[in-house]
Chain length 351, copies 2
DNA sequence: AAGATTAACGCAAGCGCATACGTAAATATT
DNA sequence: AATATTTACGTATGCGCTTGCGTTAATCTT
């Protein structure tokens, strides 16, 4: 209810002193400080963050932004878990999280992005696989601190926090190879999506490392349950003994389709996912997958952001969070595959 | 890069004029206005929201806050969908969304809540079933505009946006009754949780409306997959032909347990959920449930918030969003139930 | 004990906008 | 044509806090 000025009058000191007391600045007696703090809470002091920001040129707000292609987003548990991690860590540091869902408009030019134009935030934590590199570069040019989460581009001069997609994928593929599989198909998402690339690369790593031909890779323009189903239909043409999906949603779709085709998992076919979303363990055939600590990804991003704020001149950093292989029952020893008559849904997959 | 003052100098007008032009205020020639707007975008004008807020006493920020009991939160797709709706609607109105995850500290006293003390937001959209009424009342007393989403308490003087839990539950129960079921058990969450209460009440409505005894209700302290499993174990003791879960997560848990016990669904037992989360349709036995338009719930909350802001004196409002029955294959005509030997997990359920 | 240093505070100038009020020109009124 | 009204803009103050600088009193030198 009361302002700093009122507090000052009530105590007979100047508002400069109040400010110093409240902000833990030196230059006043400790007993006075504690008296001020006491009175502040007694009078229910409410300061104006706006005035403070105007003076200090710091908003204490940081933006968590997601850019997604048109279509459902929140259904993606990935981003929302990262968000929680970000919020948790920022809160702990005394900062506040602003959420922005980027649309087609703002992605064109960061200078037109309201949050940037209005200087509403001290910086941005950027998520979403499809953010154009040019956008990030411009943002950086504008002098806005940025850190990327779950995305990375070497063409971009900003910090990034990613998980070890490649290593995880490699471990997963090695697990599958160890089970005796040789004919494997990878069902993947868009090729320009960072983590998608890395995961595919990890799969390839494993095969090459074992002295084998790299697996066939089917790309699609999404990584949903539905595309998982559709790509599975295509994948079966190659009569694989294992299908490596690039994430759990696709793996579930693939598994769903396979079961409908009368295939037993893992008896006739092994299927693996990636991410370890909550449902993976509860799926009809619990998914062998790679755990990505999404919340921790967010926390790490927030911490990196704070570090960047503290030292704007530090060299660009790329932080890699480990992933772990989770073996469940959707993968098993190589079977004798019998491919039934397939009704393949119409889908244009790009090799 | 440039400020309002610079723009003013560049054009040889006063900054008052600039301000008027930018804010669409009357009192200047239209051609001048457009010239200013043009120059503004040419010079890449960046205004200070802090200065603006200080002058107007409006932050253009609104807080979306969730209060959750200790434990995993983001796994709850409910709240994150609401959040998306809120963001979408607020963005459209030119406002920005701040995310706050309330912890034990801030819930004690809203006056100590940083976001409130610092006047960082114009108001709060509050989600989470466990927010104490006293907290809301104090918030209201402090003069902070508040609207509740997916929660309501008649002891509270603030606006609320809820979905038609009771009507949806009633429709669902009537559907089950129509299938011939008479011995039904409701598995539910905490009794002090609004939507939980309403849904139970809706179930009871249907039974009473059909001239039947109300169904047995088993309460628990959570509404997760795991509690669904546990309560199902208890429920089976009553040899029900139908189990009505208070949400989809519990229904899936229940279904999981029942299948493990060798029960066919819906052959031996019908199970229903509530919410229609994404997985419901893809569950082994696709769930009969009630669709709650979570995103729309969020949008409605944001709209109500805007209305409240526009007219602080308007009487308290309670907005009810319709729900719709979704019939899938987890419910079927009443079977001949055969109860196998049960291994009941240890769980203390409160009647 | 006199000067030098430090500590504890007040003073006042901003920070970058919005806006009430004032003024001059343009338009309307009779 | 003289006055009243409106329009179009500039002037200047204030929003509530932070902070550099100044002042006084307290502590430290030698």
């Amino acid at each position: 209810m009361s302002t700093v000025k009122q507090l000052a009058e009530s105590l007979g000191v100047s508002n400069a002193t109040i400010s110093r007391a409240l902000n833990g600045k030196p230059g006043l007696a400790e007993d006075l400080r504690s008296k001020i703090l006491e009175e502040a809470s007694r009078l229910n002091l409410r300061r104006s963050s706006a005035a403070r920001s105007l003076s200090t040129a710091q908003t204490e707000h940081v933006c968590f932004a997601v850019y997604h292609l048109p279509g459902p987003l929140a259904s993606d548990p990935f981003y929302s878990e990262i968000l929680m991690g970000v919020e948790q860590e920022l809160r702990q540091a005394g900062l506040h999280t602003m959420l922005e869902v980027l649309g087609e408009e703002e992605i064109k030019d960061p200078a037109r992005w309201r949050i940037v134009r209005d200087q509403r935030v001290d910086g941005i934590i950027l998520n979403g696989p499809f953010v154009p590199a040019s956008f990030i570069v411009k943002l950086h040019t504008l002098g806005v601190p940025v850190v990327l989460v779950d995305n990375f581009s070497s063409h971009t001069p900003v910090d990034a926090v990613v998980c070890d997609d490649r290593g995880g994928a490699r471990a997963l593929a090695e697990h599958v190879l160890k089970l005796g599989h040789r004919r494997a198909v990878v069902i993947a998402g868009p090729q320009d999506w960072y983590s998608n690339q890395e995961r595919c690369a990890g799969f390839v790593d494993a095969f090459l490392g074992a002295g084998l031909e790299p697996p066939q890779i089917l790309h699609s323009d999404a990584t949903t349950f539905e595309t998982g189903q559709a790509l599975m239909a295509l994948a079966l043409k190659s009569k694989p003994t294992a299908v490596l999906a690039v994430n759990d949603a696709m793996a579930m779709g693939a598994s769903f389709y396979a079961r409908e085709m009368g295939l037993g998992i893992p008896k006739d076919l092994s299927i693996t996912g990636f991410d370890d979303v909550e449902m993976s363990a509860r799926w009809v055939t619990p998914l062998t997958t790679v755990r990505v600590q999404k919340r921790y990804l967010g926390r790490a991003a927030a911490r990196q952001f704070l570090a960047r704020l503290a030292d704007p001149e530090a060299p660009q950093q790329r932080i890699n969070i480990a992933t772990t292989l989770i073996e469940r029952s959707s993968s098993g020893a190589v079977p004798n595959l019998k491919v039934p008559n397939l009704k393949v849904p119409n889908l244009k997959a790009k090799k």
